[in-house]
């Protein structure tokens, strides 16, 4: 086949990770993680519809240290995917394509995601323990 003789672009391992590429693949990683998180959402709602026993089991699981760890991870994934999603929507409007703008919006997006996660965690612990 003639097509197999074409020159290949360098493989992924060749490139030094850049902020643009790392943030881009994290958008997909968080998207897939959040899709897995829909299992938890489904369990929560179905358990609530099933009765006090199943619902107490879910709430107990979510209240455990592992449940908290999962919820922290999903909270950050959600805010990351949300912030970067807004960044993507701005690109769809043709805004912010200069390299420096892409770098700055990336940093701003990560800062926003981290800030929103911290605010949510504080609010959650104040609401639960207050």
């Amino acid at each position: 086949m003639a097509s197999s003789q074409r020159p290949l672009s360098p493989h992924l391992q060749i490139y030094r990770p850049q902020i643009t590429s790392v943030l881009s693949i994290l958008h997909r990683v968080t998207g897939v993680a959040l899709t897995a998180g829909t299992l938890l959402l489904t369990w929560w709602l179905v358990a609530a519809a099933s009765g006090p026993g199943p619902f107490a089991t879910v709430q107990g699981f979510l209240g455990s240290w592992f449940g908290h760890l999962l919820l922290w991870a999903f909270t950050f994934s959600l805010f990351y995917h949300l912030s970067n999603g807004i960044r993507h929507l701005l690109w769809d409007f043709g805004w912010g394509f200069e390299l420096e703008q892409v770098r700055l919006s990336g940093i701003a997006m990560v800062a926003a995601a981290a800030g929103l996660t911290v605010i949510t965690l504080i609010a959650a612990y104040v609401a639960a323990g207050g």
Partner: protein, 126 residues
């Protein structure tokens, strides 16, 4: 002017002309999910450690039940579109790709129906 060869036309391969619909679906659901997911996070904070009567009281409000059903529908459609792109990009080989797509899409559809029926059952007060 027709730029495709006669052979290419006869085979009927090429664009399925669904890409634009997929692209718009992803964007429209993304925009809808901005307020919906923020509402969900705020609601979830209030429901931390809640017992079933407290949860039933919350979902028993028509406002919350409607938003939850809308969130579930939009979220699962967004995940459906996104997972499709991820699988198509990374799973090579037609058999593995088609199998993964079917499993993920069936699972997402079943979970969406389960969530919506659960909310309906709670909201109607079964």
């Amino acid at each position: 002017m027709e730029l495709r060869s006669s052979l290419s036309r006869a085979r009927g391969l090429g664009s399925a002309k669904e890409g634009v619909h997929h692209w718009w679906g992803q964007r429209v659901t993304a925009i809808a999910l901005v307020p919906l997911s923020l509402w969900f996070v705020v609601s979830a904070i209030g429901l931390m450690g809640a017992d079933l009567p407290a949860f039933q009281a919350w979902i028993g409000s028509l406002f919350n039940a409607v938003l939850m059903v809308v969130l579930v529908a939009v979220l699962f459609y967004h995940a459906w579109l996104g997972m499709q792109v991820v699988i198509e990009d990374y799973v090579h080989g037609e058999a593995a790709k088609t199998t993964s797509l079917l499993i993920v899409k069936f699972a997402l559809a079943v979970m969406a129906v389960a969530c919506i029926l659960a909310v309906a059952r709670l909201a109607i007060g079964a």
